[in-house]
Symmetry: C2
Subunit: 210 residues, 2 copies
């Protein structure tokens, strides 16, 4: 644990379990990447993937100034899932159940030789199984793509997974319902593209999401 | 549109429609707030709410150094919803449908006199209707809470809501399914707290989420 991860950790909610971190990263679909541009902070959503202890970030070229850094750029990356709403008998104690990872480190461009593997990690993270179903990147597409790599070495993981705070001795009104409403993200009915014939079956990678 | 919002906008995906911004803020449950601490970027998830053109941020006291700033702190705040996975016939064209807002501005502490109203906006954003069902904050609780305010004046909104790119003249393999898998967040079965008697009905605010 570095000074930076220490500073951002609530001691009662921190965890050092890498399995919790990896599961969170697997389940979440977007990362929020912060960096300093000139003298102000910028945060952008980006797609991401993971290979072992490395996080890969894949943004649009719209984030050009950011992605162009060849020497590396100090970033902070947050990945958060809201797992539930916690309804207490006071507004003060109402909260969320969540899992959150905040990574600090130097983001560097993945070198050409490793770019395909990094893109595979990003694609397989978002759409497990898809890489082997469709056409993989051409040399031209690879050249047009920037992927950044951040080591998962300086990470603060926080989570809350509990009911509302309540005390048998308190004076809160027990006639009010208190508890947790779990939240989860679900896939809806797949919508075929105009050029997808109705005889073409839904891909396995799509079916596995349903 | 300022230089900052211009820099982070993909021109083909930007929108200036305030209704799209407000709907995104209403639907999302967490904001990612970036700021500069010493000389490095930090991003943290925070609960938020909105009142007109003001965004309220409510973090744990664990983000103490951040929240303690009385004179204001330059922040960038991102709120993102992933609306779907876009399965193209190539990995390169595969993407996500999403809505994203990135706000730039000075975050300042909400003064004592307005704190309750700001907290109400945060609570009602997360749990509409809950404020009037339960005990509202005591003077002591209000004093222990920091809420930050950021004007929604410098905002870049981007979105993608479309099927995969595909071209009738291309050579992609049409035997592969392409299309969109919509994603949405749903509430599960409410889990009563240990002190909630089974005779107590689920609150209206909870029922409205189901």
């Amino acid at each position: 644990m570095s000074e930076r991860t220490q500073l951002t950790r609530m001691h009662d909610r921190g965890t050092d379990d890498p399995e919790i971190l990896y599961r969170l990263l697997d389940e979440a679909r977007v990362a929020h990447v912060a960096f300093i541009r000139r003298d102000y902070p910028v945060v952008l959503p980006m797609a991401f993937g993971r290979d072992g202890n490395r996080l890969f970030l894949h943004g649009s070229t719209g984030a050009g100034a950011f992605l162009a850094s060849r020497t590396g750029l100090e970033v902070s990356v947050a990945v958060t899932l809201v797992d539930g709403l916690v309804f207490a008998r006071s507004t003060f104690d109402s909260t969320m159940n969540y899992r959150s990872a905040v990574v600090f480190g130097l983001a560097t461009p993945v070198p050409e030789a490793h770019k395909e593997k990094a893109l595979r990690a990003v694609t397989e993270h978002l759409m497990p199984g898809r890489w082997d179903e469709v056409r993989t990147p051409t040399a031209k597409e690879l050249a047009a793509t920037t992927v950044l790599e951040v080591p998962l070495s300086e990470v603060s993981v926080k989570m809350r997974a509990a009911g509302p705070g309540e005390d048998p001795g308190d004076s809160e009104d027990r006639s009010v319902w208190a508890g947790v409403v779990p939240l989860r993200t679900v896939a809806g009915v797949p919508e075929p593209s105009p050029l997808t014939d109705s005889s073409v079956p839904v891909s396995d990678s799509v079916r596995s999401l349903l």
